[in-house]
């Protein structure tokens, strides 16, 4: 069964949720409303099952409560060799520090240790930290001015040029015209690079500041501005050009705009200061500013630990930083809790945000969670390499007690450890053979597995 759109947790617990088992706790008004809905459902022949009740069958998983279930889930994910992936996915999750104050405090401690260890190992050049008075050359112009993580759509960097508050800041600091001029130069470069590239080419998605759909419009805008002047351009053209420089990352986009020499970095820092200082109360909830001593709630766990941007142009940086981060996470005993957060990762439609191997591992863990008497794997591990398939199946057989397994294998994809092989061709059994040890499981005949080819 393919994965459903939902979190990893939703997918894993799906087979345990067949009917409501523990009623939801409602206030008086809510209880009354619920009873009315139930009565209505019965009259109309619909289900009165409460979607807000607890449907999880803990007993089917061999546990008694939510904590036990989480522990069991993480054990199974370890068994299918998904622990490292869960850790990586967990780092990309964000947490609410109000709901997880202890975890947030430990992540802040990880941040402090990370910064210190970077210096001790001579790796400071690999991460450019968030400093309130320095322009970060590995962040975009938008990110530098905002100097925080947007909450909700108000300060979405993709549409930041349209934000009235930011526009007022830029006007007040005489930055608007200069940014439009930069945007005009960026537009000309983008047109020069992409005008002959066919729509749908991956280069548009990966590298262009302008989508293939918008390119003709931008070309028209540039032609109009070139024939008149920037100062005479209409509001629509000015807005289009203003949106472009916000995406520039100094160390990544080497467009020859000489921004450093123009001193524009200092002007952007002034915009940052004005943005923070003058932010009205009704917009305060729309951004979480970077504070070295505070957990940044909307940012990921990894971004909270790094508290900076990995430097462009140093390919070894990512590897060294990941190694250091793992070292610190293990020293603070954070790995399990970070992997736990990965259970909230949204997998996308059919698990599209995961690799094929990850999808198959989660499906396998899901099947094992309800402790079946017989597990049938019909080409369920085809995305695995041979070594990974052997390893996962060996662990499954060793740790699954009295589980029977029928493994339907693609040609050449038959793992070891089964005690019987049945070969079928055109719907007929052509071979039915007991497999001699050492291929068979060690001693207990109740753990018999049957491999089908």
């Amino acid at each position: 069964m393919p994965l459903i759109a939902g979190s990893i947790r939703d997918n894993l617990l799906y087979p345990l949720q067949r009917q409501p088992l523990q009623p939801a706790a409602y206030s008086d008004d809510a209880q009354r409303l619920f009873e009315e809905r139930c009565a209505e459902a019965e009259k109309t022949g619909n289900s009165s099952s409460d979607p807000y009740a607890n449907w999880t069958d803990y007993a089917a998983a061999g546990v008694t409560d939510e904590c036990g279930l989480t522990e069991r889930v993480l054990q199974l994910l370890d068994q299918v060799e998904l622990s490292q992936d869960m850790f990586s996915l967990g780092l990309r999750q964000s947490i609410d520090p109000d709901r997880h104050p202890k975890l947030a405090a430990r992540i802040l401690e990880a941040r402090r240790q990370f910064g210190r260890r970077l210096g001790e190992k001579g790796l400071r050049g690999l991460v450019e930290s968030f400093h309130p008075e320095r322009y970060n050359r590995n962040m975009s112009v938008a990110e530098n001015i905002l100097f925080g993580t947007p909450v909700g759509p108000t300060f979405d960097p993709e549409h930041i040029a349209e934000n009235p508050y930011l526009r007022r800041i830029l006007d007040r600091l005489d930055l608007t015209d200069e940014m439009i001029e930069i945007g005009f130069r960026v537009a000309k470069v983008m047109i020069d690079l992409f005008r002959d590239i066919p729509p749908g080419h991956e280069a548009f998605e990966r590298f262009s500041f302008i989508s293939a759909d918008d390119l003709p419009e931008v070309q028209s805008c540039v032609r109009r501005v070139e024939s008149e002047s920037l100062s005479e351009a209409d509001d629509e053209d000015r807005m289009m050009l203003l949106s472009l420089p916000f995406k520039l990352i100094a160390n990544r986009h080497r467009l020859g705009l000489n921004l450093r020499e123009a001193g524009i970095g200092e002007r952007f820092l002034a915009a940052r200061a004005a943005f923070m200082t003058d932010l009205p109360a009704d917009l305060a909830g729309s951004i979480a500013f970077f504070d070295p001593n505070a957990y940044n709630a909307p940012a990921s766990i990894e971004d909270n630990i790094l508290f900076g941007k990995v430097t462009y142009g140093r390919p070894q940086a990512r590897r060294q930083i990941s190694a250091l981060l793992a070292e610190i996470v293990d020293s603070l005993d954070l790995r399990r809790e970070i992997a736990d957060q990965a259970l909230n990762f949204e997998v996308g439609i059919g698990g599209s945000r995961l690799s094929a191997v990850q999808r198959q591992k989660i499906a396998l863990a899901r099947a094992c969670l309800k402790r079946p008497d017989l597990l049938i794997l019909d080409r369920a591990l085809d995305a695995f390499g041979p070594a990974a398939r052997e390893s996962v199946m060996a662990r499954l057989m060793a740790e699954s007690g009295e589980l029977g397994i029928i493994f339907v294998a693609s040609p050449g994809g038959e793992p070891r450890g089964f005690d019987r092989r049945i070969t079928m061709e055109a719907g007929k059994v052509t071979e039915h053979k007991a497999l001699a040890a050492p291929d068979a499981p060690a001693t207990d005949p109740s753990t018999a597995g049957i491999g089908l080819a």
Binding site: D192, R195, D196, F207, R252, R254, L255, R314, P315, Q316
Partner: protein, 153 residues
């Protein structure tokens, strides 16, 4: 190094020298300038080939490992390309690349490189010429080895 400097560097490389300007600019813009310190491994023998490297500054040591011993095959310098064979053949790296001194490279993503070369006859011809020249050099080297073995017998 802005993208126009990268265009100028690519023009000096035989594979890209005859490529049309628009394709060259796109290659330059989509590429990444990367720096390695002395001794740093750029890529390891057996790694997946994720890009082609054009050397801007410094030298790159090409080596293979046999029975635990690293054997230097070549030292490649500025305006040369390394790593293109594994990308073209879609195979793991056949050799390791290591920085000798500080090295600055322009890294071109594999997919972008293949698309560009297959979409540009001039670039494809440039690649063919490079590979043929290397094959010719290897054959000559082989003949010299055989000759020296024969004369020592």
């Amino acid at each position: 190094m802005d993208y126009e400097d990268t265009v100028a560097l690519l023009r000096r490389v035989p594979i890209f020298a005859s490529m049309e300007a628009a394709a060259l600019k796109l290659l330059a813009f989509s590429s990444e300038t990367v720096t390695f310190d002395d001794g740093e491994i750029i890529c390891q023998e057996g790694d997946l080939a994720d890009g082609v490297y054009v050397i801007d500054e410094g030298q790159v040591v090409v080596s293979v490992e046999r029975d635990g011993i690293a054997a230097k095959i070549a030292v490649v310098g500025a305006n040369e390309v390394v790593g293109e064979l594994a990308v073209i053949l879609n195979q793991p790296r056949a050799a390791s690349l290591r920085a000798q001194g500080t090295v600055r490279l322009v890294r071109i993503d594999s997919d972008i490189f293949i698309r560009t070369v297959t979409g540009n006859p001039d670039a494809a011809l440039g690649v063919l010429r490079i590979l043929c020249r290397r094959l010719s050099n290897m054959l000559r080297h082989y003949e010299e080895l055989v000759s020296s073995i024969d004369s020592s017998i």
